[in-house]
């Protein structure tokens, strides 16, 4: 697969501010029915998120974690948007 195809645009927004945006190789979101991993070129999807932790893996392999609450995740044309009511600032990701 071409290198540029293996990344996606990620935007995380809370109701009162934009939180993070950048390019990522994979994102894990706390869907209402269990964790869900999203890779580039996923099919278009709209997922309800209750509360939990969004983990973004950037192109250089660094990980970013965000505690989110109550919202949804939309993926369309290789763009992932996480829109939530409340979102913590970036927190350290511990290896799981």
């Amino acid at each position: 697969m071409a290198a540029e195809k293996t990344t996606m645009q990620v935007t995380i927004v809370a109701s009162d501010r934009p939180v993070w945006s950048g390019t990522a190789t994979s994102v894990t979101v706390p869907a209402s029915e269990g964790g869900m991993g999203i890779l580039p070129n996923h099919e278009p999807v709209l997922v309800v998120v209750n509360s939990g932790r969004v983990v973004v893996v950037e192109t250089d392999g660094s990980r970013h974690g965000f505690d989110v609450e109550d919202g949804f995740v939309a993926f369309d044309s290789n763009k992932l948007t996480v829109a939530v009511e409340h979102c913590s600032d970036e927190t350290a990701v511990t290896a799981e």
């Binding site: 009162d16 501010r17 209402s32 099919e43 009511e85």
Partner: protein, 298 residues
């Protein structure tokens, strides 16, 4: 002519008022920058929600109560966004005038308006006139956070979702002030609920596009996203109203400062002429009496 002492004390009090107005004006102009930042910060979220709703509209055949009210229910909700504090010129009074007009029009259409008010000024106005208010919120009208928007939209959606016999409403109107620019703010009435579906051309083009998948289910996604859509729209209204309020306050305070300065100039002129008059009078008296004395000596 009033005494010089009276002029002096009026000038002193007008000067201190002018100082207060000037300070208020400066506070308002610093708040404007903040209000603009808050509005900009909230924009990505409301854009994301609008996109999601657009996707929902384009990819599903929606039948959700948010898109069609209860036709048989005459009760409609009216939300008026006023300010917490005065000193903002005609801001609250023009909202109230528009609200009264809307209520009269709805009454004329045979509907029963139910009033909701945000902002202390509006609440006291209607309480003083013992109007029935379904619910009120106060605080932070000049910098409304997401929490206030959440509270308001929750209460209104609850009223909207209730059936007619339990006191539910079939429509929701919002009276708010749109921030056009620093000088122009427009009072607008918006029908928020039921949401009008905008059938875009995109929809027909997208018939063959790959279908979105919804998790856990289409209904649950609708139930989760649509209330948020309403909430973010209400939040938008609150934010533009807050910016308008601050701009109104700045304009009003600017005019007040100017008026105070004119008044001071006017009073100073009167004070000077009164002082001059008294000096002239004293001189005439002295000259008159001196001449009288001279005449006696002759």
């Amino acid at each position: 002519m009033a005494s010089q002492l009276a002029f002096k004390s009026r000038i002193a009090s007008t000067e201190s008022l002018a100082k207060i107005f000037n300070a208020q004006e400066m506070i308002a102009s610093s708040h404007i920058a903040k209000a603009r930042k808050v509005a900009l910060d909230a924009k990505p979220y409301s854009d994301a929600i609008s996109d999601a709703v657009q996707a929902l509209v384009a990819h599903t055949h929606i039948t959700h109560p948010i898109f069609k009210g209860e036709p048989g229910n005459p009760r409609v909700a009216v939300l008026a966004l006023t300010s917490d504090r005065g000193m903002a010129g005609a801001y609250t009074s023009s909202i109230i005038r528009e609200t009264e007009g809307l209520l009269a029009r709805l009454d004329g259409e045979g509907k029963q308006p139910v009033l909701y008010v945000y902002g202390r000024r509006g609440v006291t106005y209607y309480k003083y006139r013992s109007r029935q208010i379904a619910d009120t919120w106060e605080g932070d009208t000049d910098k409304p956070g997401a929490e206030v928007a959440e509270k308001i939209s929750k209460a209104l959606l609850e009223a909207y979702m209730k059936p007619a016999d339990q006191g539910g409403v079939s429509e929701l109107y919002i009276v708010f002030t749109e921030f056009v620019n620093m000088v122009v703010q427009k009072v607008r009435v918006l029908r928020m609920l039921p949401v009008e579906l905008v059938e875009t051309e995109q929809q027909s083009e997208n018939e063959t596009a790959p279908l979105y998948s919804f998790e856990p289910s289409t209904e649950e996604v609708l139930d989760a996203v649509l209330p948020k859509y309403i909430q973010s729209r209400i939040h938008e209204c609150l934010l533009t109203s807050a910016a308008s309020e601050t701009a109104c306050r700045q304009n009003a305070m600017h005019t007040a400062t100017d008026n105070a300065r004119n008044l001071i100039a006017d009073l100073t002129r009167k004070l000077n002429s009164s002082r001059q008059a008294s000096i002239t009078q004293e001189l005439t008296e002295i000259i008159g009496s001196a001449e009288a004395l001279n005449k006696k000596e002759e």
